[in-house]
Symmetry: C2
């Protein structure tokens, strides 16, 4: 009998001792990090609201209780019961019964009303039907990504259950080694921006954190070195994704092509955004005639293997590692990933990308942890002069540029990342128009911006407190303002807009490395009354960076596939302060107020100068050990 079997038997006995005598436990098993308890008496289990919490605390595991299939009311009968229990105002849009797990997935416009106070409505559903309810939000703006992901996971439910069981056994395996050490290996994004990838390893466990591409370059993380995938992709125990931007996520699906079949831990919005962005990444590659590094099937594998975690959930992901996500303030679902290793042996936090102050979209990054000795900190704006304008001043400047351009009868083109910056700018524009700071003109959203916005409205829990409140009330959801037009009819619609009245165009890609922004450039770039406004980071080598630096001859590929050159006559402006990244001051403040203050900081995800400047400043200011690692190095802690 394997050690996991023995463990489960012990847990089974403990559970039977702990629950009232009239509750029958038929099985306990692992599904991913969770312990699932099957019972013939789900209704009795649901009676005692505190029972699951007590069991979880006793067993020190995350627990899900499921009805034994034999104890379930038939789906059609249950459907009526469920609908009766849930208040009508909850706005249920779908009910989906899964006989194999005894779960009913309830999609509703107002999930809170399905849950009820302290989960009372959920418990009532179980008591009435035996089914275990799971609640998801009906996207206020329909998102095809969210719909596709949910449908796909529904289809693959059986396979996913097997995957989760395998992963669960892996997580709860017996520790093998008496050795104690913690190491971080840098596979990318050191002394550069892009291709984020780290390995966190102990004698027991190897975890890959992020696996991105590098904008403006073909460079990929050093996956082939022995300490990465040299002994096979399945030598990894887990992949953790801090957020969905391609420089962190693009090559995650590639791992499955290499034979990985373990879990990806990330937040739910990051999972969906990863799906959206990586599929687009494949699309762009195909359009540009490059062979994509993997096929869309691998994106589906990645989604199927994703175990979504919420901020603050402390989750066992290996026998000696607990993972907790904390809001990073950078984009939807972005997470500082905190690893607690061993029994208090060491704590490492990977910042991913962070924004320390509140923005319109997000609360600022969390920097409060139970313990943390080592911090791996992004340094995008870590250089000694990388101070950004206050957002208030930036907004003032942006509004001024827009007003002037529109009064000149011109158009404003804003290249923006579909995910994050676009929604921030949308919020600025919506408020500015509402308050009369800028003229009311149409705001055209091109590329994936509309879809990305839809995903934002699906997960308002991840947005800034006050924004979340507004979205909950559909009548004041700023993303639904009528100025916003989704460009969904291709080149004809673009030409119409270009030929028309003053307006604002928000278009991908954010660094002008392809996408519809090039089409806009072609159409309005030679209009001296129009203006292009950069509001995001432009990586060295990208077209965005070159235009920003004054280049006015722009190579374009015509519709016939031949290369043309366009001479820009439009105004070129940069308004910083909208970045999703903390600036130098923000990074220092993040560390200064961090609780507890880490002993060691690795400054990564910034060019050579930025990482070295930041490393040196943190050392001198806070007297901590700091490093500006190179790629392919390994640091040992403990």
């Amino acid at each position: 009998m394997s050690t996991v079997e023995r463990q489960l038997e012990d847990i089974h006995s403990t559970v039977e001792q702990e629950v009232p005598g009239d509750i029958t436990i038929t099985e306990v098993r692992y599904e991913g990090p969770e312990l699932v308890i099957y019972t013939r008496d789900p209704k009795r289990f649901a009676r005692d609201g505190d029972l699951v919490r007590r069991l979880a605390s006793k067993l020190r595991k995350r627990i899900t209780v499921r009805p034994d299939p034999g104890s379930l009311a038939p789906a059609e009968k249950a459907r009526a019961e469920v609908m009766r229990v849930i208040p009508e105002e909850a706005g249920v849009t779908d009910l989906d019964f899964h006989v194999d797990t005894g779960e009913v997935v309830i999609e509703a416009a107002k999930p809170g009303m399905v849950i009820g106070r302290h989960g009372s409505t959920l418990r009532e559903i179980t008591q009435e039907t035996g089914w275990t309810p799971e609640v998801v939000r009906t996207p206020p703006i329909e998102s095809s990504t969210v719909k596709n992901v949910r449908n796909f996971l529904k289809q693959e439910r059986n396979e996913r259950r097997d995957i989760l069981e395998r992963i669960g056994r892996q997580i709860h395996r017996e520790k093998m080694s008496d050795d104690q050490w913690v190491r971080i290996t840098t596979l990318g994004c050191c002394r550069e921006v892009g291709r984020a990838a780290f390995i966190l390893s102990t004698p027991e466990t190897r975890i890959l954190i992020d696996c991105g591409d590098k904008p403006g370059s073909d460079d990929v993380p050093y996956l082939q070195v022995p300490e990465a995938l040299g002994s096979g992709a399945n030598s990894l125990d887990a992949v953790v994704l801090t957020h969905a931007h391609l420089d962190h996520s693009a090559l995650v699906p590639l791992l499955f092509k290499y034979g990985y079949d373990g879990p990806i831990y990330t937040t739910e919005p990051s999972r969906d955004l990863m799906g959206l962005l990586t599929l687009d990444y494949l699309d762009v590659a195909a359009k540009e005639g490059r062979t994509p590094p993997y096929e869309s099937e691998m994106v589906r594998e990645a989604i199927k293997h994703t175990i979504p975690l919420e901020y603050g959930d402390v989750t066992d992901i290996a026998p000696d590692v607990k993972l907790t996500f904390h809001n990073a303030g950078h984009i939807l679902g972005s997470a500082i990933s905190h690893f607690h290793i061993g029994d208090g042996l060491h704590n490492v936090a990977f910042s991913g990308d962070i924004h320390y102050k509140d923005t319109r979209l997000f609360n600022g990054a969390v920097n409060n942890f139970p313990r943390v000795e080592t911090l791996v900190l992004e340094s995008t704006y870590g250089g000694r002069n990388d101070y950004q304008t206050d957002q208030e001043d930036s907004e003032r400047k942006l509004k001024q540029v827009i007003t002037e351009t529109i009064e000149n009868d011109g158009k404003v083109l804003i290249p923006a990342f579909a995910v994050g910056r676009s929604q921030e700018i949308m919020l600025v524009l919506e408020e500015a128009m509402r308050s009369g700071d800028i003229p009311e003109v149409p705001v055209h959203l091109d590329g994936m911006i509309w879809e990305a916005t839809a995903i934002h409205t699906t997960y308002p829990e991840y947005l800034r407190d006050d924004l979340r409140e507004r979205i909950f009330h559909e009548d004041v959801n700023p993303f639904l303002a009528e100025q916003f037009n989704h460009i969904d009819a291709g080149e004809d619609e673009r030409q119409e807009v270009a030929d028309g009245d003053p307006c604002i165009v928000l278009s991908t890609s954010g660094m002008m490395e392809g996408g519809p922004v090039l089409s806009w450039l072609e159409r309005i770039g030679s209009d001296p009354d129009s203006t292009i406004v950069f509001v995001g980071y432009q990586a060295a080598g990208t077209l965005g960076s070159r235009i920003q630096n004054g280049r006015r001859d722009v190579p374009l590929r015509g519709p016939d596939g031949r290369s043309n050159s366009l001479t820009l006559k439009m105004g070129i402006e940069t308004v910083d302060g909208f970045s999703g990244h903390a600036d130098r001051q923000g990074l220092e403040n993040f560390v200064r107020t961090m609780n507890p203050r880490p002993e060691k900081v690795l400054c990564v995800h910034g060019d050579e100068r930025s990482t070295q400047d930041l490393s040196s400043a943190l050392y001198h200011e806070f007297n901590m050990r700091t490093f500006a690692p190179k790629n392919l190095e390994t640091f040992r802690f403990v």
Copy 2:
């Protein structure tokens, strides 16, 4: 056709163009790092003493010319010819003809006389017989190790030839990667003394430098991590052994158990000493009832796969790595290993263990290199107070202790490493007795000391200039002085000595971790007139260290296998200054006068305090980047 085949065809054509028209080339092939040219006209080849040098320079390879088997005189006829050509004074002791390679191995007391001026006698042998002579020295003291190694290699000649051909093809394979980086991974001996092991890696090549055990501990190098042997022992291109002490060599044979079948580069004396010491290591393990980590068969594999290099030979060991050994002054054959990587990309020197000043046995360590950017430096005595007495003062103190003990009618017991320190002390004692500084008493050599001394006399080229000269003239070979007695009749002989007159005993093991020194301790430890004198490094945790620190209750295992306790009554003295390691001053001087001065220094092979002290001192004194790595870290250069 493989790229190596094509390469060899090109070389074949070039050779044919370069040699006179009357010389037929039948084959060119690789054997290890060398290019072997087979010719039907070895005699004509031998005519032009400069031809091989010209070819080597043209092809930028090390070249050996061999007769095509068809062109050889029959062995018996050749034997007479060879003996006629070599002067009788050369003292030939063996001739061994190898038909497969056309080589005749000539063992002679005076190899120089077999070689002749600028190799003239060797050329004459080839001209007369067609055979290619190879010369080895007849050990002045018979060494069973040297004899066994030579016989074994003779037996395995065919298999060895296949191994060398395979290695040769591996070395001369085409470069695969466009990437450029150089990394060092620490697998042991960081912030500790013992278990030396490093990986030097490039995108092309992975080299293991040393693979030792840790005295006084069961710790072994971290071979199982992915970046070591995680993707198989054959993911290594080469193993380089800096010297034969067990803390550098003990686990080299283990690699062959793990499936390694590539080359070991080391000096010829290091190869023989490694054979001696690792076989003894297995013996000791067996005697102590431990399961040895490998069998003696693996030691033979290691020897079979060894490619001996001489100091100063620049040798291709991979498509992008050239290795050169330089005298390290530490023990016989010890080598600073210099790696030239890429075409001028980077140069790394691993000091191994070094002694910077001349000792009686060896010239001081070389610190002159064509180029070197990174130095990996031992730090055994790197602590801020690790200054050692001058050898002159040490010798005075040693002589004083000996004289007093002998005048007291006592015996002097000196625990010493068989290899290195023993021979140094022998030279001190021999001179002291010759000059009347100490009384003439017998010096008993126990354990492997006699055998190790025999190996020293086999390779006088590796000894200090003036000592080498004395050994060449057998009448003044200090190791043959009549005071020296080989304890070769076991416990009876020991008891006789212990019961007898004053004398000196040099015995292994050096740190009293087993071996005959314990038997001596038992016999004379309770004699208050006798003295034990420590002359070498005592690692923490060893019995030697404990006695040195004042412990007088010594646990001993009696002949019946039961544990006894002995109370020491003998005097306990420490005379430092005989260490094979540079002291703090020596290490600083080594770096100060190093040419060129390296940019970065990794301080290793010392306890935590020593490595950090040395690292900090070198940083402040020489303004270089210095590190005190931990085990399991990876540093990237370039």
